[in-house]
């Protein structure tokens, strides 16, 4: 009696556990069923059972699945991204794109899981340049030189973008869109005080002084998430020491304790902070919260990427214009930040054929034209028709074309770890400009540690 009970209950336990586990599988089964149902509707006409089974199998393999994971979570960008997928679906009904959108920050964290999973997403969005090279070097990105060749991109893309996508003579990446950084300002405030967009550092300081004298904070900035400080460092360092030195510093080949770096902080950055040209308590705000000071007229300028105009109250966005970050030393070549985004195929993609088709589409004039027209971003393909461009787009394009060197951005040009330490250093400098030497010593310590490991 006892024993039977005991066996019985043990069995029930196992079964119920099995049921719990199966509940999860039900969904997968459901999805497979869903797919077959589609077919069943069509086959009602047919009578022969055997044949329909064949058809069913055929249809299932016919409609190939392509997994596309994207970090385009900004509202307008996301819409454009979805529209591109829809355009491709229309052209290739035999391919079913399984499109997932992940919040931008989290995508960056999850990508290593994606890339090393046994079934990685086939196509993913990513940053051009060093951040993509990091994965290329670890063999996680597929060589797409054949697509570059077949689509004629080697000729249709500027050499700079091609170089950005190339490692050891092979192309791994497809850069598709980019935007510029500049100093955005309120034209109406400038007009009220008879100010002109400054071109040199002296003019810039004069503008700041005039604004401040009139009770307007010259520059707004929200540094809660730190990267806005990195833009100031990028530009000041490029303007003072030139882009070549800057990029070598990013690559870990120059020292943060170099007197040239120190000069950027003591001679240029610190005076701005100490003269009260920035808003108070920038660390309390995210970049978009700090934009409020500009939209309500308390502050006049903001060093920012072009996405600023997406967030600015739309009925007043016409009051916003931008100018090139002022020139400090006319003998130094001009460097600009212009972060570029694009796509790649995972090395272990299950469906490289279709992935390449999709990439070919994303790199085509058609797709880029769509992004440029609808999103205001700049295209990488030379064939894109620019006649419909807005004045802002043209001006941005000229800004970058007039540069001698185009950098990506601090955290894209250097390594993640270095960027983390570096941006903390900038934040600390902001609070205690006098401590800069010990802060730079910390950065140098981190640089030696981090770059020595590789």
């Amino acid at each position: 009696m006892k024993k039977t009970w005991f066996m019985f209950i043990a069995l029930v336990l196992l079964l119920s556990f099995g049921m719990i586990s199966c509940a999860g599988e039900a969904e997968i089964v459901e999805r497979i069923v869903e797919r077959t149902v589609e077919v069943e509707v069509e086959r009602t006409v047919e009578v022969e059972v055997e044949r329909t089974v064949e058809v069913e199998v055929e249809r299932l393999t016919d409609r190939r699945v392509l997994i596309y994971n994207s970090y385009m979570s900004d509202p307008s960008v996301r819409e454009a991204d979805e529209a591109l997928v829809a355009m491709f679906q229309e052209m290739h009904p035999e391919i079913r794109i399984q499109h997932s959108t992940v919040a931008h920050e989290d995508f960056k964290h999850a990508i290593r899981a994606y890339l090393t999973a046994s079934t990685p997403p086939d196509v993913m969005t990513w940053f051009a340049g060093n951040r993509a090279r990091f994965f290329t070097e670890r063999g996680l990105i597929m060589d797409i030189s054949d697509v570059w060749e077949a689509e004629g991109w080697n000729e249709d893309y500027p050499a700079g973008f091609r170089a950005m996508s190339t490692t050891d003579g092979k192309q791994y990446f497809l850069p598709t869109s980019w935007y510029w950084w500049a100093v955005y300002y309120r034209t109406d405030i400038f007009d009220d005080h008879g100010l002109q967009p400054p071109e040199t550092w002296e003019e810039f300081l004069e503008v700041c002084e005039t604004l401040k004298a009139n009770g307007i904070t010259p520059i707004t900035i929200g540094t809660r998430y730190r990267w806005t400080t990195a833009a100031w460092f990028d530009y000041l360092n490029m303007r003072v020491n030139g882009p070549e030195f800057h990029i070598n510093l990013m690559m870990g080949e120059e020292s943060y304790e170099d007197p040239r770096v120190l000069r950027v902080f003591t001679d240029y950055w610190a005076p701005l902070i100490e003269n009260g040209y920035f808003i108070d308590h920038p660390a309390a705000y995210t970049w978009s919260e700090a934009l409020q000071f500009m939209s309500n007229g308390e502050a006049a300028m903001y060093l920012m990427g072009d996405f600023l105009r997406d967030v600015y109250p739309q009925d007043e966005v016409d009051l916003i214009d931008f100018f090139r970050f002022p020139i400090i030393d006319p003998d130094v070549p001009i460097g600009e930040d212009a972060p570029t985004d694009g796509f790649f195929i995972a090395a272990d993609s299950r469906n490289p054929e279709d992935a390449k088709k999709f990439l070919a589409f994303l790199g085509s004039v058609e797709a880029q034209q769509y992004l440029a027209d609808n999103l205001g971003r700049l295209p990488t393909h030379l064939g894109v028709d620019m006649s419909n461009f807005t004045d802002m787009q043209r001006k941005g394009l000229e800004l970058i074309q007039g540069a001698d060197f185009v950098a990506q951005f601090y955290d894209r040009d250097t390594t993640e770890e270095m960027a983390d330490v570096g941006m903390n250093g900038f934040m600390e400098f902001w609070d205690n400009p006098g401590n800069i030497e010990s802060i730079l010593a910390q950065l140098e310590f981190a640089r030696e540690d981090l770059f020595a490991e590789d």
Partner: protein
């Protein structure tokens, strides 16, 4: 009460090898607890303990999360050595301690006081209880967002009130941007959230107390405070233990609010260990180093686990 069972079990086990006949029944009884534990424990070992042990191993390696981990064969403790030189680790540890001390004091006192106040037929008691509990229902992202607006230096509600109280229109305190204040500002939010939770736990405890007992002490002439001090609070002892245990766990694992409100900034002054670990692992691609942080964090919590287990062990010997 557990004693009877154990005594019987003991007798049985002793009887087994002693010579009596082998009995399926007796064997079955010895095995019973293990059978109960079989499935849950297997699942737990695979999904939690296994990865945990692997984390211990990872803490001796350099791992970028993609290529295979590289064991520091020359100096396996390299990550730990680096950890103890790392100023951010020290800051984070200190912040966790601040968090913990605040957590086992303020919400406990406030939660208890509220529970005492609300454990009677007050007008609108139900609504008041629900209000205090409402922060628990709001997602942490929303909490963090709303509070960063409360803390807004120029237009935040808190500074507005302070300006009104101090009559100083130029007062702007950067609660989240001042490296001295930021940790306390975040802890305040965490405490604000925790009070309702502690209150509910104490309310639960209070309902378990026999009202007759309290009446009896009142008849004996004890005043309200004496009743509370000598009768109610000791009776709530077990609740307090649970509350403290939960508070310690929560403060060691503190993560979300920091991650939403400041991500540890400005320059790490509001960093806590779990957050620092997450940044090292998922932002900086240093899984090995981040595992070392986790191991240290685990060792710290081990102290509390032992204290707690010792406590229940003591308690249960009385059975």
């Amino acid at each position: 009460m557990g004693k009877d069972i154990s005594m019987r079990a003991l007798k049985r086990t002793r009887a087994l090898p002693g010579g009596g006949k082998f009995s399926w029944y007796k064997l079955g009884n010895t095995l019973t607890p293990y059978l109960f534990l079989l499935i849950p424990l297997i699942l737990y070992l695979i999904w939690v303990i296994g990865p945990m042990l692997y984390t211990f191993y990872l803490s001796l390696t350099r791992w970028d999360g993609m290529t295979p981990p590289v064991f520091y064969s020359a100096n396996p403790l390299r990550n730990y050595q680096r950890l103890f030189r790392d100023p951010v680790f020290a800051i984070s540890l200190r912040n966790n301690l601040r968090w913990m001390i605040s957590f086992i004091t303020i919400p406990v006192v406030m939660g208890l006081a509220l529970a005492m106040a609300l454990n009677r037929s007050l007008p609108g008691a139900k609504f008041i209880k629900a209000s205090f509990y409402s922060p628990m229902v709001l997602s942490l992202v929303v909490c963090g967002l709303i509070w960063s607006w409360m803390y807004h230096p120029a237009r935040g509600l808190i500074n507005e009130v302070l300006r009104f109280l101090t009559n100083n229109p130029n007062l702007t305190i950067g609660w989240l941007s001042d490296s001295q204040l930021v940790m306390w500002a975040i802890i305040a939010v965490a405490v604000w959230r925790q009070v309702g939770y502690v209150m509910v736990l104490y309310l639960a405890g209070l309902q378990g107390i026999d009202p007759g007992l309290i009446d009896a002490t009142k008849v004996d002439g004890a005043n309200g405070w004496q009743t509370f001090r000598h009768v109610i609070f000791p009776l709530l002892g077990p609740v307090t233990v649970i509350v403290v245990v939960i508070s310690i766990i929560d403060s060691l694992r503190a993560f979300d609010l920091v991650s939403v409100m400041t991500r540890g900034g400005p320059y790490n002054s509001s960093s806590v260990l779990a957050n620092y670990m997450y940044i090292q692992a998922f932002n900086n691609y240093r899984m090995g180093y981040s595992s070392a942080i986790a191991v240290v964090l685990f060792l710290i919590s081990l102290v509390f686990i032992f204290i707690y287990l010792w406590h229940i062990l003591q308690d249960e010997l009385e059975y």
